[in-house]
Assembly symmetry: C2
Homo-oligomer: 121 residues x 2
DNA sequence: TTGACGCATGCCGATATAGGCATACGATGA
DNA sequence: TCATCGTATGCCTATATCGGCATGCGTCAA
C-alpha cells in the first residue's frame, strides 16, 4: 500500500498546505480558478488539481458562471475534524507533568471504582 | 515532488487513521508498544513506525521503563490544528444558501461602502 | 552466558502524490 | 466559423508512504 488517498478524507485533503491556503482564501467568498492561482502564487493546473481534491472530499463547491467556474467554501466537512481534535482539548490545557499525574489518577480511579468516564472516538 | 512528509506537520501526521487511533487510545494513559499494537490490531513494527512519526512531530513522548517503552500523549501539537479548523466554524454553522448570501453581502458591502449591518450566527 | 522478550529498523514492493508542461474542451465574442 | 479566454486533464518524473518480513539491539531472568 501507499499513503491513503488525499481524497479519502478531509483529514488527508487538508494535510496539504496549499489546499489549506485555498480554503482560507475562499472564506472571503467565491473565486475563479485563475484568481486563486494568482493570489496563491501557483500555476493554474496546480490550482485546478488541488480544487479537484477539495471538491471530491466536499470541502468546496463549484458554480458555473459563463466561462468561469466559481469555487466556494463548504466548510461542513471540517466540522468532524474540529470535533475529533477537540477531543484532546483537556490534554493540551494541562501542563505536561501534571498531565502525567492526571493520567495516573485516572488509572487508579479506574481500578478502584466507578470511573470518570472518558474515552474512545 | 511527492506528498509532504508525514513528519512535516501534525496535519500530515494525523492524516493517517491508524495514527489517529493511537492518539485516541493514548488518551487513556501511557502504553507500551505491544499493547497498542494488540489493541489496534496491527503488527508491532507497524505500531512502532507510526509511533515514530507521532514522536517526530511531537504528538507523543516516550519513557523508558525497563524492557518496555511507554508512549504517552502530548496533545499540545494538536492545538494549532484545532485553531486553524476553528477559523471555519462560522461557515459550517450557516446553512449553505444563506452562506452564499452572506458572502455576496460581504462583497457588495466591500464595494459600496458602509454595510447593511447584520451578519453571521 | 544464554535465552526470551520488547521494540526499532532495514529492505522490498506497490501505489499515488505534487509539480511541470502541453493540450483538449466549453463558452464567449468577433 | 475562428480566435481566445478560463479550466480541466493527461503524461512523466521524483519521492515517500505503508505494509510485510526479517533482524538487530538492549533489558531482564535463569
Amino acid at each position: 500500500m501507499a499513503r491513503a488517498a488525499t481524497t479519502s478524507d478531509a483529514f488527508n485533503a487538508i494535510a496539504e498546505p496549499q489546499r489549506r491556503d485555498i480554503l482560507v482564501l475562499l472564506r472571503g467568498g467565491e473565486r475563479p480558478v485563475t484568481e486563486l492561482a494568482r493570489d496563491l502564487g501557483m500555476t493554474q493546473p496546480q490550482a485546478s488539481k488541488h480544487l479537484r481534491v477539495l471538491r471530491e472530499v466536499g470541502l468546496v463547491k463549484v458554480r458555473e458562471a459563463g466561462k468561469q467556474r466559481l469555487y466556494g467554501l463548504d466548510a461542513r466537512g471540517l466540522r468532524p475534524i474540529h470535533e475529533w481534535v477537540g477531543g484532546f482539548e483537556r490534554f493540551w490545557n494541562e501542563s505536561f507533568d501534571r498531565l502525567d499525574d492526571y493520567v495516573r489518577e485516572l488509572k487508579q480511579a479506574g481500578q478502584e471504582g466507578p470511573d470518570h468516564g472518558d474515552d474512545e472516538q
